[in-house]
Amino acid sequence: MKTFFQNPRVQRSGRTALILLLIIVMTGPEGSGTQPTAGFTGSFGNHMSFFGLFYPQRWVVFLLLTLIVVGLTSLVKMAHRWWIERQRAGNNAVARVAKTLAATKQRARHRSTRLSLYAVALAFALYFPHLVTDQSWQTLVVQDVLVYLLLALGLNVVTGFAGLLDLGYVAFYAIGAYTTAWVTGSLPTPPPFGVHWNTFVAIPVAIVFAMLCGVLLGIPTLRLRGDYLAIVTLGFGEIVYLFINNSYGITGGSTGTNQIPFLSFHLGPIKYLWGLIPEPYYYLTLAFVVIFLLAFSSLEHSRVGRSWVAIREDEVAAESLGIHPLKYKVMAFAIGAASAGFAGVVTASQTLFVTPPTFTISFSINILVLVIFGGMGSIFGVVLGGLVVQGFVAYLTHSPPSIYNAADLYMYLGALLVVMMIYRPAGLFPSRRRRREVSQVEAGTAPDTLQVEIGAHRVQEDV
């Protein structure tokens, strides 16, 4: 018989409550010299607007928000249970609806239905700038949503498909952005061949350069497993950050550069300039998001994708079947790096400046949050997670609520991630395979990888 505190539901709720408390304390107003405790008391006592309805103290707002989330999820759960009970009881009307639903589900698996759904989503995305005509919103959608989607899709290949925890992903993004600045001649370093190249030239150069860095970093480090790899990539991210921040003569140092030209196209009579108006950038970035989606989803269901899964699940067995683990891991790393490098070009050419503070570790974590939140390894999940989280971030940036402090963003994202791990460890919409893996680990039926690793290097019980 379990005691009250051993009940997993109680434990989960307790942990969530603790995190909530921590978030309330840590976020909100800051203390000052004259009022050192203001940061603490203000976190609870300050008043803030609750969707403009009323004006309660801060802690009440958090409590209400939590209750709304809990209420909604339990409502969904209750409805689901009610539904299943009715179905069991043989309710005719319910059975009929269930049948229709099942048929719809079956149809949804059909290629044609799926394709038409994608077409609708694409049409909506194409129409979006006409729906939201506010240019500051459009800019935010490009910079805070679409670019993050590119990055998350790339990191999903590394972390989701190949199972490699990369905490220095931002480094490749920085390499992409700074390569753009270099190629277009905006850095103290002279551009290649002394020519101020068109920004389009920066795209292949940045991709190749980021990929090369990925391969060079990957070959020695991808022999490491799990946590060790995470530490090394973390270090790599820091090295790149420190390099661009401190090499004044090469990268412009902490002030970076703000001389990067817009993307422009000039081929014979055809001339086009991506200017300050965000709409052309929106379409350009959207086009690349779609290309990434198509390329990576066929990659997932290819021989390469399956080999990654095999390596992720049991490297020793995969190797015994003739899969070269290092080669495939480096390949995943290179693809992820190339995507980040490309995203770097887009950012650099749209914002026209690059500065080191963009490329800190918290940025890597932000991208990782999107991947984990949506569901590692599931492209649909990552896109949805990216849209939801980054859409919310864009909203906070565009019209921040009275008490929202921009410095608190990562606190909220971190809390979101932890709560997510408590309730849905596989993410919002995990791939079927990932869900199985996570449930197997939880049930203790997964192959014990640690045992395997030790076994491969030391004396096994049955020598």
């Binding site: 390329a295 990576f296 066929s298 990659l299 290819s302 021989r303 390469v304 994708g305 399956r306 080999s307 899964v309 095999a310 699940e313 049991d314 020793v316 067995a317 995969a318 190797e319 015994s320 079947l321 003739g322 899969i323 070269h324 683990p325 080669k327 495939y328 390949m331 693809i335 395979r433 990932r434 199985r436 893996e437 197997q440 039926t445 997964a446 192959p447 395997v452 491969a456 030391r458 004396v459 096994q460 019980e461 049955d462 020598v463």
Partner: protein, 269 residues
């Protein structure tokens, strides 16, 4: 014996001060069903790991010769290279990719020796499609061969022990090997499954022409299946011969039953 597929000469494998294999010399003829038996801790699995490139023995030589007569030294080669040369294996504790279906498990074996083809995979070109088609076909054939067609879409983790063993054999065969190393294939299976398994192993040799190297504790199975046996004890080969010779070899009986004063009976026939 026409030609040797494995030729192991004076192999010694140490882990620090522990000698796991001590001057092991053995050979396997092409098309032979060879078994290695011995008490727990005798070095059987270490031998398998040395033959497949997981361990690199410090002394001696291991040569693998394929049907084209090309010979290579296994020591120092990585497992995937050894696999590409034509050596497939199963593991003592079966190691399927447990979150994948039976079909996917075998398909991975069927396509693992092709090149990387990332760009092709992203573009889904005609060559990639042809490749996929070929792998699917081979996978279906192997499912049929080992009798798992009905469980093609079952998640590997929910298969029975017997089915897992057959899945591992099929996955190994999918890499088109010339020799298949089976590490205790009958462990955890029931008597009926054991009979089926023995029959399957024989069919692998007869119909596919794959040589079999087998570690097994189940004496009845080994004696009925193997054409020749090596007995390992404390890392050394203590006997070699046909099942009949081994059965009556006093050294083997002592290794298995212990001498009168220790008196621990581990395994009997």
């Amino acid at each position: 014996m026409s030609s040797l597929i494995f030729d192991v000469q004076d192999v010694t494998l140490r882990f620090g001060g522990v000698v796991s294999l001590n001057n092991v010399t053995l050979h396997q003829g092409r098309g032979e069903i060879l078994a290695i038996i011995g008490p727990n801790g005798a070095g059987k699995t270490s031998l398998f790991n040395s033959l497949t490139g997981v361990y690199a023995p410090q002394e001696g030589s291991i040569r693998f010769t394929n049907s084209q007569g090309k010979s290579m030294s296994v020591i120092g080669k990585k497992p995937f290279r050894v696999s590409a040369a034509g050596v497939a294996r199963t593991f003592q504790a079966s190691r399927m990719f447990s979150a994948m279906t039976t079909f996917e498990n075998i398909k991975i074996g069927a396509e693992s020796h092709r090149g990387l083809g990332v760009v092709g995979a992203m573009l889904k070109g005609p060559a990639t499609r042809r490749d996929e088609h070929r792998s699917d076909k081979r996978t279906r054939e192997l499912l049929e061969f080992v009798g798992l067609t009905a469980q093609a879409n079952t998640i590997a983790a929910s298969l029975s022990y017997g089915a897992r063993r057959r899945l591992e054999i099929a996955r190994g065969l999918a890499t088109q090997p010339e020799v298949l190393l089976l590490d205790e294939p009958a462990a955890g299976t029931n008597p009926a499954e054991k009979i089926e398994l023995a029959e399957l192993i024989r069919r692998v040799r007869d119909e596919m022409g794959v040589s079999i190297l087998l570690i097994e504790h189940d004496m009845k199975l080994v004696m009925s299946l193997a054409e020749r046996l090596y007995v390992l004890n404390f890392g050394s080969v203590i006997a070699e011969g046909t099942p009949d010779e081994i059965r009556s070899n006093p050294v083997v009986i002592e290794a298995y039953l212990g001498s009168a004063d220790t008196g621990v009976a581990e395994e009997t026939k």
